[in-house]
Symmetry: C2
Subunit: 339 residues, 2 copies
């Protein structure tokens, strides 16, 4: 497969050009381009330029409004709500994040529901800036229905990721971002493309039988990770991301037309806490210093790593070596850079 | 096995008598007796009178102070901290809960770190009263180290349960309470007692090899549920329950002497949110009404249930039929009812 090598600056410039040529405002495009550039920087290819066609085509088709300005609603001293006005989530997130951080500092804990927005980015990105800013942060987002409840056979939950970030003094934060499904949907699609069976436990066929056939699994339903406990997490994410934002549950938006490769509309909930306002930990900074003992304890064992370490390893290399994408993807993206 | 049948009133009276005779104050005993009585009422035997010997012996030995009055510290508008002063967590929880609920209503979201307390109760109990009160609630608690990090072989995390409650109009709340280990430690001990192998995936032996031998699993380390994703949840619980409370991580308290069957000291974090303050959901009550659509969607499939349904089924029977406990346990408890 022929590949194209780009510097991170070229990634950002190419993204900006394609997004703005596709009807996304300069301001919104800058935020979205940063999401994709950061993903490429961190070796997270599935959220890098791979997403360009989805952003561009869903803006060009008019299904998602790339020009909207998100609005903020001060619902309560600890709640800042962002209305994305049926645009992409990344600009809504960027508009609300400084207020969420300020509220977390003044109140100790704060929440940010994001409504009427289409999430299409890596969820770790959403907690990254908060954790870099010294805040403990959760993010929960739902998606279209692909995953069955334990004992059920219908697609009910989204792959519903949750992300959690913990700040580390002098280091990038510890962040995990994990789907509540046993596998990403894209992984099943790749197994299908390559003619490989999928592992047991990833999916059931339309009759509810366990299957290793990727086609049957895509037609049936994905399974939550870790059995009924993962299903409980999937349900929790659905309740938090939808129930507290007033958006649509995955099964409610499943029938919405969506063939342009872009995201469906869903909700997102962020929660941020300022450890300095949790007085049991002693002086400011003590909570984070204490947590380093746990991270040290984890890492002193051979064969262990922290969830975000692979991204941070990639981050050391890509600013000098650049990144590569398939030539076919690059050509598609160049097409979006035309009028 | 000979059994004794008790009414729920007898459960409460017996618990009160044994706890107060063991040096626990009337006020604290009333809270702890309610935890055990509610557990028996809900068919949750592992947190019912089964816990009496642990409460009584750890108070009688003086290791845990059953007479302390927890103190509240208003750390921030959204944070109420409870210092349990080295007593049991249940009285600390009871002391702080009304303030947490009031803060959640006034701020939209609030947190309650509990420090210097020994958790020995069902975690669902801690979110139950908040969810019955119309609040969405999380609880996270750590324990002594029993669980390895992915790739590691040492006991590092506690079995670290998290609980989540969502209020339901006109119905008891949806609550799940799940360990981040693949199994409860007690389940492995029961397999050992009965001479049965444990399922694969529950534990590793002291050399880090997968094992189905319960003795080797207890000597080695338990495994998180769902592989690396469960390990991330276990780590998150440890960071929230300890990092934000200033208590000890499981591996730090592992060396504390603890042979009286009672709990070790740890931390707990509660988070409560008032859905009525999340303005995106429309008029008050709309968020909860909307969530009922999701619960209906789950339950319309044959073979599904909500996490708390088994407890609520038991609750319909025990007030009239009473409960049973082994005669040997009852005799032990009667011993604690003496001076």
């Amino acid at each position: 497969m022929s590949e194209v090598r780009l510097t991170l600056e070229e990634v950002r410039d190419t993204a900006m050009r394609g997004l703005t040529k596709s009807g996304i405002s300069e301001e919104n495009a800058a935020v979205i381009a940063d999401v994709m550039t950061t993903a490429e920087q961190d070796g997270c290819k599935s959220h890098g330029l791979f997403r360009m066609p989805g952003y561009c085509s869903s803006s060009r088709s008019g299904r998602i409004d790339g020009k909207v300005t998100p609005t903020l609603h001060d619902d309560a001293p600890g709640v800042i709500r962002v209305d994305g006005h049926h645009g992409f989530t990344a600009p809504a997130m960027a508009a609300g994040r400084p207020v969420l951080a300020e509220k977390a500092r003044s109140q100790g804990i704060a929440a940010m529901p994001i409504m009427n927005a289409c999430h299409f980015a890596a969820l770790w990105y959403d907690v990254d800036a908060l954790a870099e800013d010294g805040l403990v942060a959760f993010a929960f987002v739902n998606s279209r229905s692909f995953v069955a409840h334990t004992g059920g056979i219908r697609k009910l939950y989204g792959t519903n990721p949750m992300a959690f970030g913990w700040p580390r003094p002098g280091k990038p934060p510890m962040i995990f971002d994990q789907a509540s499904s046993a596998s990403a949907r894209g992984e099943i699609q790749i197994h299908l493309r390559d003619g490989h069976d999928i592992p047991e436990g990833w999916a059931i066929d339309p009759e509810g039988n366990p299957t290793t056939d990727p086609e049957a699994g895509l037609a049936g339903a994905q399974l939550p990770f870790g059995g009924h406990k993962g299903a409980a997490i999937a349900m929790m994410v659905e309740l938090l991301a939808v129930g507290l934002t007033g958006c649509k549950f995955g099964f409610e938006s499943a029938q919405d037309e969506n063939t342009d490769g872009g995201p469906s509309e869903g909700g997102e909930l962020l929660i941020a806490m300022d450890p300095a306002r949790f007085g049991g930990t002693g002086e400011s900074g003590a909570a984070l210093a204490h947590a380093e003992l746990l991270f040290n304890e984890i890492l002193q064992e051979e064969g262990t790593r922290l969830p975000s370490d692979r991204r941070y390893a990639a981050r050391k290399v890509t600013p000098t070596e650049g990144i590569t994408i398939p030539k076919s993807l690059y050509d598609t993206i160049l097409g979006y850079c035309e009028d």
